[in-house]
């Protein structure tokens, strides 16, 4: 395995609130390899965004706290870095694409100037004409037509898809080696989503920036990602490469997520959601956090009392799951079907 670009170990992020401590991220570890697209999926509140925001120092402290964890990026621990040093990383080495392009652009600045700002922030000595030429190149790169005209326009003159393209252009302005896309298409309608994803994919291919794609859309994961991390209640419950996760899921939550997608191949009358609500992160269920909603657990004692460790699974190299009874899932792709004993299992 190549040297990871970003290596997160035992990251814990908590928020102190009036009701108690929210354990938003609870001891997660993962690596991001150079040039890969890593998907992080999970429900709202599973800690997907917080885990990445925290390594960039973007969670407000207080109420946020990072009591433990290491985030090695190019040989330096981001979590131990001085504020100023971390700031020079943000937007240069590590860049973010935000969820809502409607609100992530400053309404009083021209698009071109906002893009240029990104370069100027980190390279104040670059001449204005150079910056402008670079910005226009970037705009071309993400498929914004008439960049010379668009350069002088304001965000309110851009459509949603165009704004998200501008956001993507902004994020790659300084050729980052790590790109974090936090639900980049959630705020867009489906046809525009496809275009923006395509832009993201091409930009990624061109810049070879490792990308962390945070999403709750499994379709996007299947389309774009090389590897997937599934998070639930602040923990990683399963990770592996994208084929493994989709073909040999070994965690009931992952299976539940896939069951809840409408399928084109079956004549379904109802959606099949995972029953119940995501757990409160203040009072997490004892044992496996997923057990109250799990179809596999059936109230077994281990599920209720023992926190399942993340352990290697059979799906392929790098595949791991945090389920006591992962073996029972071999050959099973849905809660609703019986295990296929002949195929499936490897």
């Amino acid at each position: 395995m190549p040297e990871p670009l970003l290596s997160i170990k035992d990251l814990v992020v908590e928020f102190g609130t009036e009701d108690g401590v929210v354990h938003a991220v609870d001891g997660i570890s993962y690596d991001v390899l150079p040039g890969e697209i890593l998907g992080i999926v999970g429900e709202s509140g599973s800690g997907k965004s917080v885990s990445t925001m925290s390594i960039l120092g973007l969670i407000p402290q207080p109420p946020g706290r990072i009591p433990s964890g290491v985030a090695m990026f190019k040989g330096q621990d981001l979590l131990k870095m001085k504020k100023r040093q971390l700031r020079s990383f943000r937007g240069d080495e590590v860049a973010m694409v935000f969820q809502d392009p409607m609100t992530s652009l400053n309404p009083v600045l021209k698009i071109g100037n906002q893009l240029g700002e990104m370069i100027k922030t980190h390279y104040p000595k670059v001449r204005d004409e150079t910056v402008k030429a670079r910005v226009i190149d970037l705009m071309k790169m993400v498929g914004i037509p008439n960049p010379e005209t668009r350069y002088d326009q304001y965000p309110h003159e851009f459509s949603g898809g165009m704004r998200q393209r501008a956001m993507i252009a902004m994020s790659i302005a300084n050729a980052p080696s790590l790109l974090i896309a936090d639900e980049p298409t959630t705020a867009l309608d489906v046809t525009i989503q496809a275009q923006v994803l395509e832009v993201l994919k091409n930009v990624q291919a061109e810049t070879q920036a490792a990308t962390i794609l945070i999403t709750h859309d499994l379709g996007i994961v299947a389309e774009l990602c090389d590897r997937v991390i599934v998070m639930y209640a602040g923990k990683i419950v399963e990770h592996g490469d994208v084929h493994t996760i989709f073909q040999n899921p070994r965690h009931p939550y992952t299976i539940g997520l896939m069951d809840s997608l409408p399928k084109l191949t079956e004549d379904e009358e109802w959606l099949r959601p995972i029953p119940g609500q995501p757990p409160s992160l203040i009072n997490r269920p004892a044992g496996c956090a997923f057990h109250p909603r799990c179809f596999l657990s059936q109230g077994r004692l281990e599920c209720r009392e023992e926190v399942p460790p993340l352990r290697p699974a059979d799906g392929g190299p790098g595949h791991a799951t945090a389920c006591h009874f992962a073996e029972e899932l071999i050959g099973r792709h849905s809660k609703f079907t019986e295990p296929v004993t002949a195929g499936g299992a490897s």
């Binding site: 990383f89 860049a95 609100t103 700002e117 190149d137 970037l138 037509p145 956001m167």
Partner: protein, 331 residues
């Protein structure tokens, strides 16, 4: 800067995308529509900023235009006092003492009790009052902006400290303090009066700016700026302060009027600017000794009223024009 070779060519479409009925063109743009169609047709596009829209709204605001023209005339007279006024403000014409308004010897507004041309004194008075008003408005806006910015951006104890100081200044009975301060520092100097007024006027702006900053701080583009490595100063100056300019301009404008009235009140009470320097308040104050000579009160008094009225018209017009919520153009 680490250069990545920017590709001038539009991004090529990958074949593996979900099947779409019509093949998407290279560059993945749908057929040009809207603005792009206009550009494609070779037509020129003029990009309109919020300021352009505001300017258009402002210039269509009838009352604001009345106010603006009025202010240009009155303040113009003050600025060019040395050309407009037929006499200097202290020149004495012993042949005409307490003369009523007449065109004789250009005493359009008459003369005062020692024969000084009252028209000239009002014009010079406008200049003094105008200077006080504008400088107070500018200085208090700048101070208020700084205090409000720091308070709203950083929050926490520093916000608490600054806001308690602001509250303190606000709770002080302004007139009493102004009188005391004027008495302690000595009345008479125009700049001293300006300073005292400015020391009271910044609180309003500070509170407004803080309020706006508190809401702006939560905006995603501020977070995005943070995520792109911008420092506090850059975020404040590039991203946040421009978004507060509307209310600040409106308030600053209105402050000019209030400052002029307050200066007049102070001078009227004898604690502001001291004769012989004429300010509008000084003139009204002096007129008390000759209550029969109506012109001595009416002309400076009316001028104060007009200035404040015009300033408020312009302020209201700006408020309507700069409020982005309001798209309606007043007829």
């Amino acid at each position: 800067m680490t250069e990545i070779e920017p590709s001038a060519k539009p991004i090529q479409l990958n074949e593996n995308v979900a099947p779409v009925e019509q093949p998407i063109q290279p560059g993945m743009m749908p057929a040009p529509y809207g603005i792009d169609a206009t550009v494609a047709a070779g037509l020129e596009i003029r990009s309109r900023s919020q300021w352009d829209y505001a300017r258009r709204r402002f210039f269509r605001h009838r009352l604001a235009m009345v106010g603006l023209i009025g202010l240009v005339i009155v303040f113009g007279a003050g600025i060019f006092a040395n050309f407009v006024a037929p006499y200097s403000f202290s020149e004495i014409d012993l042949n005409n003492i307490l003369a009523p308004p007449t065109t004789h010897a250009h005493h359009f507004f008459g003369t005062d009790s020692i024969g000084r041309d009252y028209f000239s004194r009002v014009i010079w008075g406008i200049r003094t009052s105008m200077e006080v008003g504008i400088i107070v408005a500018l200085a208090s806006s700048v101070v208020g902006l700084i205090v409000g910015t720091i308070s709203g951006y950083y929050g926490g104890w520093i916000d608490n400290l600054l806001m308690r100081i602001t509250d303190l200044v606000l709770t002080l009975p302004a007139l009493a303090i102004l009188l005391t301060a004027a008495a302690l520092l000595g009345a008479g100097n125009q700049w001293r009066t300006t300073f005292i007024l400015a020391a009271f006027f910044w609180t309003g702006i500070a509170r407004i700016v803080r309020g706006i900053f508190l809401s702006l701080r939560e905006k995603e583009y501020v977070e995005a700026a943070k995520a792109s490595g911008a420092g506090d100063l850059r975020i404040m100056f590039r991203h946040m302060i421009p978004n507060t300019m509307g209310p600040i301009i409106v308030n600053g404008t209105l402050a000019v009027g209030v400052a002029i009235v307050t200066e007049a009140a102070l001078s009227f009470l004898g604690f502001g600017i001291k004769p012989p320097t004429p300010s509008l308040g000084v003139l009204v104050s002096e007129a008390q000794t000759n209550p029969q000579q109506w012109w001595l009160t009416i002309f400076p008094g009316l001028t104060i009223v007009l200035i404040v009225l015009f300033v408020n018209f312009v302020g209201d017009g700006l408020r309507d024009a700069l409020d982005p919520q309001q798209r309606r153009v007043r007829a």
